[in-house]
C-alpha cells in the first residue's frame, strides 16, 4: 500500500465515461505528473483526488485511509490552481492563512507559519497587498504559499504554470523542483506540457481518452513508450515515425523503407522478431538518435549510415535540425551546430538503431 493509492477509479457523467479504471500508487515524496492533451481526464482525476468531484467507482486512499466521500478539507491536501484562485477581497497574508484559520489554528501560530512561508517564497513585501495588485509570477508564488502553509500530506497542482509567459514559466519550474527537493513532499501535478512533465516528475502518467496510457519514470516513458500515442506526445521535436516493412534474414531483422528519391534502403533492427517477416510496422526514432555521422553516439552498438537529400535546415544555436524524408514521411535529425548540411544536398544520416522502437500500425502498440 502506497502513500496515495488510486485503485480502479472511474468517473462517469451519466452514461459518458470520462475516466476508465485508473490504478496508480504514489509513494511518499514522489512527484507524479499527470500529462496529456486537454480532455484526457487528467484534471478530473486530480479533482477526484482533491475531493472536488465524486468517484463513480473504485477507491482513492491517502496514507491508507479511504477518501471516498471525505470532504476536501478533511483530506489534508493543498491545491494550486491554474488561475491561482486567490480570494480577491483578501490581502496576500489573509489568502495564505485562510485555510489555517478555517482549521482553527490560533492566530499567533498562523502568523508564524505565514512568515515562514513568505520567507521561503520571498514574498514578504507583498503580504499586505491585494491579489489585484500583483504580477502573474507573484500571484503564482502566493498561490503556492497558500498551499505550503498548510503542510499537507499531498500537494495538488493543476496546470499552475500555464498562465505565465515563457521565461517566467521556466524559472518557476526550477523553483518548484527546488521546493520539492528541499521539502520532500508528495506532489501530484497536472500539465499538458510534456517538458514540464519530464523535468519535474519522478514519475509520469501519460493519459489520453480517459485511460492511463503509460505510467513510469521520465526515462522509461521517453525511451520506451508503450504505444504510438505516448511516443508522439512526449518529446520535442516529436519522434520520427517511418513506415517500414520488416524482413527477416537468418538471425537478423531488417526494416525496409525508401529514401527521398524513392530508392530502397534497409535498416538493421537489434531485437529478434519472431513471425513478423513481411509485416508492415512503424519505426520510431527520436531526432537525437538520427544525427550526422560525426555526431553519432559513440557508445551505440549499432549505427546505420544512410545518405539522403536534405529538404530544410533549422539552426537552433546549440544544434541544427535537419529535415529529410524517409518512407515518404518528413523526418527530423538533430545534428551538431556546425554539421555540413544544406537544403538540396545529399548528406549521410546516422541511425542509432539501439534507440529504435517498432509499433504495430493497426493497434498502435509497441512491438519491439
Amino acid at each position: 500500500m502506497g502513500f496515495l493509492d488510486i485503485r480502479n477509479a472511474t468517473k462517469a457523467y451519466g452514461s459518458v465515461q470520462v475516466l476508465h479504471e485508473v490504478d496508480i500508487t504514489v509513494e511518499e515524496g514522489e512527484f507524479l505528473v499527470l500529462v496529456g492533451p486537454s480532455g484526457c481526464g487528467k484534471s478530473t482525476l486530480l479533482n477526484m483526488i482533491a475531493g472536488l468531484e465524486d468517484i463513480t467507482s473504485g477507491e482513492i486512499s491517502i496514507k491508507g485511509q479511504p477518501m471516498n466521500g471525505v470532504h476536501p478539507s478533511k483530506r489534508n491536501i493543498a491545491m494550486v490552481f491554474q488561475s491561482y484562485a486567490l480570494y480577491p477581497n483578501m490581502t496576500v497574508g489573509q489568502n495564505i492563512t485562510f485555510g489555517l484559520e478555517m482549521h482553527g489554528v490560533p492566530k499567533t501560530k498562523r502568523d508564524q507559519a505565514m512568515a515562514d512561508v513568505a520567507k521561503l517564497l520571498q514574498i514578504e513585501p507583498l503580504l499586505a497587498r491585494k491579489p489585484g495588485q500583483l504580477s502573474g509570477g507573484q500571484r503564482q508564488r502566493v498561490a503556492m504559499g497558500r498551499a505550503l502553509v498548510r503542510n499537507p500530506d499531498v500537494f495538488l497542482f493543476d496546470e499552475p504554470l500555464s498562465n505565465l509567459d515563457a521565461k517566467l514559466r521556466v524559472d518557476m519550474r526550477t523553483e518548484i523542483k527546488k521546493l520539492h527537493q528541499k521539502l520532500g513532499t508528495t506532489i501530484v501535478y497536472v500539465t499538458h506540457d510534456q517538458i514540464e512533465a519530464m523535468t519535474l516528475s519522478t514519475r509520469i502518467a501519460v493519459m489520453n481518452g480517459g485511460y492511463v496510457q503509460q505510467l513510469g519514470t521520465p526515462k522509461e516513458i521517453y525511451d520506451n513508450p508503450a504505444n504510438l500515442f505516448v511516443a508522439t506526445f512526449m518529446g520535442s521535436p516529436s519522434m520520427n515515425l517511418i513506415d517500414v516493412t520488416l524482413r527477416v534474414e537468418g538471425n537478423s531483422v531488417f526494416a525496409d523503407t525508401t529514401d527521398a528519391k524513392g530508392a530502397r534502403i534497409s535498416l538493421p533492427i537489434n531485437a529478434s522478431v519472431n513471425g513478423l517477416d513481411g509485416k508492415n510496422a512503424i519505426l520510431g526514432l527520436r531526432p537525437e538518435a538520427l544525427t550526422d555521422v560525426d555526431g553519432s553516439d559513440a557508445r551505440a552498438t549499432q549505427i546505420a549510415h544512410v545518405p539522403n537529400e536534405v529538404t530544410v535546415t533549422e539552426p537552433a544555436g546549440s544544434d541544427t535540425f535537419v529535415t529529410t524524408s524517409f518512407g515518404g514521411k518528413d523526418c527530423v535529425a538533430r545534428m551538431r551546430a556546425d554539421a555540413d548540411a544544406k537544403p538540396g544536398e545529399r548528406v549521410t544520416f546516422a541511425f542509432n538503431m539501439d534507440k529504435a522502437v517498432l509499433f504495430d500500425p493497426e493497434t498502435e502498440a509497441r512491438i519491439a
Binding site: 478539507s73 490552481f81 491554474q82 486567490l86 480570494y87 480577491p88 477581497n89 485555510g99 478555517m102 497558500r146
Partner: protein, 294 residues
C-alpha cells in the same frame, strides 16, 4: 476583483460631431427633467397661482409653505398628521424587505451557480418566471394566506409579500453575477476547509458590491413605490407612504391643494431618488458584471 477595465468604445470624431452629441444628450436630459421640474416649481407656489392658470411658469411668489404642510400637517386621514408617520412606516417595511430579498437572492444565486444539482435549471426557470405574475391576481389568495399565517394587516405581512415577489429578480441578478465568478475560487476555499456558508460570507459576498447595489436599487424602488400591496395588506398602523400620498392626492370630493400634493409627491420620491443618485454609479458596473451577460 473581476477586472472591469473601463474600455470606452469611443471613436474619434470632429468638433461638429461632438457638438451635435452634446446637444442631443442635453436635449434628452431636458426631456427627462421636465416632469420633475414641473413638480418642483409648483410645489413652491401659493395655490392661487396654480388655480389661476399659472401652471407651467415659475412661481412669482416663492414659498416653502406647501413643503412644511405636506410633511407635518396635511390632511391624509382624519388627523392632520402630514406624511411624516407614513414615511417611517415605509422605511420600516422597505428596509427589511430589501435586505431579506437581496440576501436570499444572493444565496440562491450562489447555490444555482456554484452548487448546481440535477434540475437546477428548472428551479431557476420557475423562480424567474415568477417575476412576470401580474400582482392583481395574487391579491385575494395572498390576503387569505396572510390571514392564515397571522400576518394580516401587519408590517411583517408586507415584508413577506415584497420578499416573495422580489426573490425572482434578486435571484436572477445574483445568479448571472456569480456565474462569471471563477469556480476555482470556490474549490480553493473548499480545500482550505471553508464550508458552504463560510465560502459565501468570506469569499463571495465581499466581492458582490456592484450586484448588491443593483439588487438594492431595484428592490428598494419597487417596494417603496408599491401601492397595491401597501394599500391592501396594511392596516391603520402600517400604511406606507404611497397610500398616504394617494390619499392626499386622490381625495374625491374636496378642494385640491396641488402645491401641497406636489411637495408630498417629492417627499415620497426623495428616498428612491437618493438611492439612485448615491448608488447609481455602481448600477452600470453591476449590470455590466452581471445581468447583461445574460
Amino acid at each position: 476583483m473581476m477586472a472591469i477595465a473601463s474600455t470606452d468604445t469611443a471613436i474619434r470624431s470632429g468638433r461638429v460631431t461632438r457638438t451635435f452629441l452634446y446637444l442631443v444628450l442635453l436635449l434628452f436630459a431636458l426631456f427627462y427633467l421636465l416632469p420633475f421640474a414641473i413638480m418642483v416649481m409648483n410645489s413652491m407656489k401659493p395655490l392661487d397661482e396654480i388655480t389661476g392658470g399659472n401652471m407651467m411658469a415659475f412661481p412669482t411668489d416663492w414659498t416653502l409653505e406647501p413643503w412644511r404642510k405636506a410633511w407635518s400637517e396635511a390632511q391624509v386621514g382624519v388627523d392632520a398628521t402630514g406624511l411624516r408617520p407614513y414615511f417611517y412606516n415605509s422605511l420600516i417595511m422597505a428596509i427589511p424587505a430589501v435586505m431579506l430579498s437581496t440576501f436570499f437572492g444572493a444565496l440562491n444565486g450562489y447555490v444555482l451557480t456554484k452548487w448546481q444539482f440535477r434540475g437546477h435549471n428548472i428551479v431557476f426557470g420557475l423562480l424567474l418566471f415568477s417575476c412576470f405574475i401580474p400582482f392583481q391576481i395574487v391579491l385575494i389568495p395572498m390576503a387569505r394566506m396572510l390571514g392564515i399565517f397571522g400576518l394580516a394587516g401587519s408590517t411583517g405581512g408586507l415584508i413577506l409579500v415584497h420578499f416573495v415577489y422580489g426573490i425572482g429578480f434578486t435571484t436572477l441578478y445574483f445568479r448571472n453575477y456569480y456565474a462569471a465568478f471563477p469556480t476555482e475560487l470556490i474549490r480553493a476555499a473548499q480545500i482550505d476547509g471553508a464550508g458552504f456558508f463560510r465560502i459565501f460570507w468570506r469569499i463571495l459576498l465581499p466581492s458582490s458590491g456592484p450586484i448588491i447595489a443593483v439588487s438594492f436599487i431595484w428592490q428598494f424602488t419597487n417596494i417603496w413605490n408599491d401601492f397595491l400591496f401597501g394599500a391592501s395588506f396594511a392596516d391603520f398602523s402600517s400604511q406606507p407612504m404611497t397610500v398616504a400620498l394617494n390619499n392626499l392626492v386622490q381625495s374625491s370630493t374636496g378642494v385640491k391643494e396641488y402645491n401641497v400634493h406636489f411637495a408630498g409627491a417629492i417627499y415620497a420620491a426623495i428616498p428612491t431618488l437618493l438611492v439612485y443618485i448615491v448608488a447609481g454609479r455602481y448600477f452600470v458596473r453591476g449590470l455590466m458584471a452581471g445581468s447583461v451577460k445574460g
